[in-house]
């Protein structure tokens, strides 16, 4: 059985106690998206400033447990300055580490569940510290909350760009 040391690694506690990129950005021009974890009531607000196809700046607001807060803090450091494509690769790599399965319908209309596959080219760096969360399934939602919220911000930005191009 997994021990607490697998979950609460020192780097995680450091990000929890000293969160990076905490605060808000003026929106607009930044994009503001809220994420909720109905299980525990955690709320995260991601502010992301997308300039020239890259993340120019990011801030995290909201409140939550050590896992959701440290994951958001580490995420903010990892995505700042990255291209949007690079951020999407990182989100997929993080979800793969969290053993997230994605659901889709196959050709016959049957629902299939497939694991998000890791991309060996994407380096997770410090984010590797969150790997132990997988042993505590209830907490996976805490770790992925800010990532799903960021993905939603990117999706909304892409949809908006598509609309204005038409």
């Amino acid at each position: 059985m997994a021990g607490l040391e697998d979950l609460y690694r020192e780097i995680i506690l450091d990000h929890y106690r000293n969160p990076r990129n905490r605060g808000e950005l003026p929106a607009p021009p930044a994009r503001r998206v809220e994420g909720f974890n109905p299980l525990c009531g955690d709320e995260v607000v991601v502010f992301v400033d997308l300039v020239g196809g890259a993340v120019a700046d990011v801030r995290i607001a909201g409140q939550g447990c050590s896992i959701s807060q440290s994951s958001a803090s580490m995420m903010s450091g990892a995505v700042k300055g990255r291209s949007i494509e690079g951020v999407r690769d990182l989100i997929r790599a993080f979800k793969a580490m969290m053993s997230i399965h994605e659901h889709r319908l196959d050709g016959d209309g049957q629902q299939v569940s497939e694991p998000v596959l890791p991309d060996p080219a994407v380096r997770l760096g410090d984010l590797e510290a969150l790997r132990g969360v997988v042993k505590f399934p209830v907490r996976i939602k805490c770790a992925t909350l800010s990532w799903n919220t960021l993905a939603q911000a990117l999706d909304e930005a892409a949809a908006e760009a598509e609309r204005s191009a038409q």
Partner: protein, 417 residues
Amino acid sequence: MALRLLDPAAVKRDFPIFDCAQRREGAERLVFLDSAASSQKPRPVLDAMDRAYESAYANVHRGVYGIAEEATAAFEAARSDVARFIGAPSTRGVVFTKNCTEAINLVAHSYARHARLGPGDAVLLTELEHHANFVPWLMLREERGVELRFIPLSDDGYLVLDDLERLVDGVKLVAVSAMSNVLGVLPPVRRIADAAHAAGAVVLVDGAQYVPHLATRVDDLGCDFLAFSAHKMCGPTGIGVLWGRDDLLEAMPAFLGGGEMIRDVRVDGWLPNEIPWKFEAGTPPFVEAVGLAAAIRYLEGLDMAAVRDHEISLTGYALRILRERHGDDLTIYGPSTAHDRGGVVAFTFRDVHPHDLSQVLDQAGVCIRAGHHCAKPLMRRLGVAATSRASFYVYNDESDVDALSDALFSAADLFVL
């Protein structure tokens, strides 16, 4: 005072989970402090349900053969046990539902249609309700344009009733919990019901937390409807109860449509069955009803007055020990005296998030609830996003409180600088 005292060590031996549950490595025993979410099940309940499946299982109210008659008799006998347990005048007002939430939804739908609630009508709630006694009324407001009013809460968790007469004026229905699942506070239901009746309103009591822990008489509560769940009172999941006054249930239209709730069906219409069956569409949870009846007899054997005395004593011990040992590190919500609350203690521990606290406590085998406890409006009123909650039942004793306190010190070591 109860004539008998409850012996939690003896009670615990009736609950197989304390012998059978897989324990966390390093944890000496299972310390279960989450009965407000769902209680554990004693052997007599498990045995009664096994016997029902093994020896007399067939659908109820259908077959004309022996085991079907036996199953029907057991199901209807369970209705008598429920009526006795809550002091209901007859079994006609005892409706079996899926759970307490469905019972409240039944009233929200069916009474609203009967009374033709609409714009200009008001429903009165309180700020401490569980989502189950909140969302059905929010839905009613969206659908029918009724006004919702709320009895406010003081900072220490008591309802503020100074304005009660003004609040009930023009109200058609009052829905109030008899015991908060977060603060443990026991609102003065009788006083609210009397004011509501004087204003011409009917009263629904959410008894999900109250009925399992305090001797319950519907006449004493003064309510017109009482809703509760079996699984919080040693019974199985999948069954709850709505008790309602006969005349109201008779006047109200059916809730769900299907088998058992009809007297006749033709291509051009249908006639409803008599109460209580009018509200029991489809095959009911009749084995669960047998389990609920066994749970009721088990609790009656312990004596509900003894259960209440035990919980006052244990809650008083918890409030004292937690304050003495943890001082300002711990913020406890709700009334400061055990007599004013049920066996529920919600708290925050320094700035440690309840989710993290619960995870650390789990390593010591201590099971508490962390989160908003399905009472987000109350959390907002308290100014917190989430709390931790320890709740007690018949199998808990002072050593469980000590284990909780010890585990809080381990959490402090990990999270506090």
